[in-house]
């Protein structure tokens, strides 16, 4: 049985795939719906107050999905990736794996790749749901902008998995790996608030769905962030490979 098949079974049999897909699909359906009915909801709960809310536009539905999916969904994805990449969480299991492979990379690569594919796939599935429902309720967003934003967010999600893979070679447990990874991603999100840094940080990619669908930014604006992501991923993967190979089974 190939390591790829084992990773697929890990996702399916532990129901992590359902959890991952479920959270993105949930937001894909609920966010456009909430955006569409938000004026009505506020009107009914306002009592005597008169609230004026502009009519929602297609970008609102997509932006609402992306913001929630890249918060809650990202956390779920990091936990799924951490549980897969944490080779040394259980020493006896680690011994089973490490005595059968010559290079730690052979263990880490399928785990990280399958987790990244699952995360990206779940995000795209949720995006399709959000796109469909936004189109039905509010109006169809531009297909080109949607495709561009999907690619950019996918790059960010793969970067998040690379961060998790690197953290798994530093931490000793799945929980610690997830916490370190989320903390790192949070730090770069906060750092992106600095205007001079924003365009260069991977966190800039999380704004892409809103900006591209609203046409407030062009695709080339995100090139520096994509480049930093690519370089960062290579660095993180090399670090994970080196650190994982030099680690002992305790």
């Amino acid at each position: 049985m190939s390591p790829w098949r084992v990773e697929w079974l890990r996702l399916v049999r532990t129901r992590r795939l359902i959890a991952l897909g479920g959270v993105f699909v949930f937001f894909g359906f609920i966010e456009p719906l909430g955006t569409y009915y938000l004026p009505d909801l506020l009107r009914h709960s306002a009592g005597g107050l008169k609230i004026v809310i502009p009519r929602p536009v297609p970008a609102d539905g997509i932006s609402s999905y992306a913001s929630n999916a890249l918060l809650i969904g990202l956390i779920v994805m990091v936990f799924v990736a951490a549980s897969a990449c944490m080779v040394d969480a259980r020493p006896a299991l680690s011994a089973f794996y490490r005595t059968r492979t010559r290079d730690f990379w052979q263990l880490l690569y399928p785990r990280a790749a399958v987790a990244a594919c699952a995360g990206v796939g779940a995000y795209l599935l949720g995006l399709l749901c959000a796109w469909y429902e936004t189109g039905v309720l509010i109006g169809a967003p531009g297909a080109a902008a949607m495709a561009e934003s999907a690619v950019l967010v996918s790059v960010y999600l793969v970067f998040a998995v690379a961060v998790t893979a690197a953290a798994s070679t530093l931490a000793r447990s799945t929980l610690a790996t997830a916490i370190w990874s989320i903390a790192f991603l949070l730090v770069i999100s906060v750092a992106a608030a600095v205007p001079q840094l924003k365009q260069w940080l991977p966190a800039a990619l999380t704004d892409a769905p809103d900006a591209l669908v609203r046409h407030t930014a062009a695709l080339h604006y995100y090139v520096p962030a994509v480049a930093v992501c690519a370089v960062g991923m290579i660095g993180l993967v090399l670090a994970a490979r080196w650190r994982g190979s030099s680690r002992e089974v305790s």
Binding site: V6, A92, L93, T99, T101, V249
Partner: protein, 345 residues
Amino acid sequence: MEPSDGGTALESEASDTTDLAVTTHGLVRDYGHGAGLHGIDLVVKRNEVYGLIGPNGAGKTTLLSILAGLRRADAGRIELNVPARRVAMCPDTPEFEPWLTAAEVVRQSRGLAAAGGGNRSSGGSRTPRGDRCSGGSRSDGADPVGRVLAHVGLADAADRRTGGFSRGMKQRLSLAAALTLKPELLILDEPSGALDPAGRAELFQLIAQLSDTRTVIFSSHILADVQRVASSVGVLDRGQLLFQGPTQTLIDSYLRPAWNVRVRGCADALVRQLRDLAWVSGVKLLADQSVEVEAVSADIGEHELPRALVAAGVGLVSMNPVDASLEAAFLALTAGNAGNGESGG
């Protein structure tokens, strides 16, 4: 190979290096406060079963982990005369992905080894005796996974997920996952720790068969098991190898030249007669009416005691050497080392 020094009973036999599967030279792994390994010179011959015995904390698991490449030594050298990819290890408390079935774990083991470039699952044309099978059931057929599971007694559990396995079943599965790779060197850390007596007997029968075609190093607390199957033994205590050599040599070295004799007839009269003999250094009548006779040497006792029994005219029911066990030798050896304090080597 040089023997460990420091006044231990370590035995060294000059061997052609091609006959050796594993040798270590001054292996050190210091955990502090005396824990770890302190200059281990291990010599394991090819196609032998080597039993590693020692009390808790002696360093057995550390030594086996270093041999398997799971831990590093602080100093010293390992000469592994088998390819690293042909080394398999079974830890004392094996774990597997709980959502995989036993058959899938074996397939995963083969897949990992194949992906790792070892191509261990192919195994060439060798058919070691340990891998032979018979019968025509599904598990005994051409499927190598079913065959190896049947070999360790897990044929009926092949399609069960390992999350519900007992520790003993996991130990069997660990062995199956290792054997399917056809390793040249098999390292087993406490392989029988969770097995019932029947399981232990089966396991050690299997290990004995494996020694025809591969080298097996195993650690155990159950010295009777080691005595039953190991051709060589290493006694490890507080990170030092106190003895290394043929199991029988260790037993003989610490064998008291004493016999327990059970006779038909008057045992009291036999005791009185034996006391008068010059070669008898001690004799006593035990509560079960058997007689324990100690000679000045094993050689004299082996020759003179039968003559004395004949001369006494008693019917001989049984005659057994006293403490002719690895356990007795081990206790004597480790007790001696404790008495020597830190001087052991």
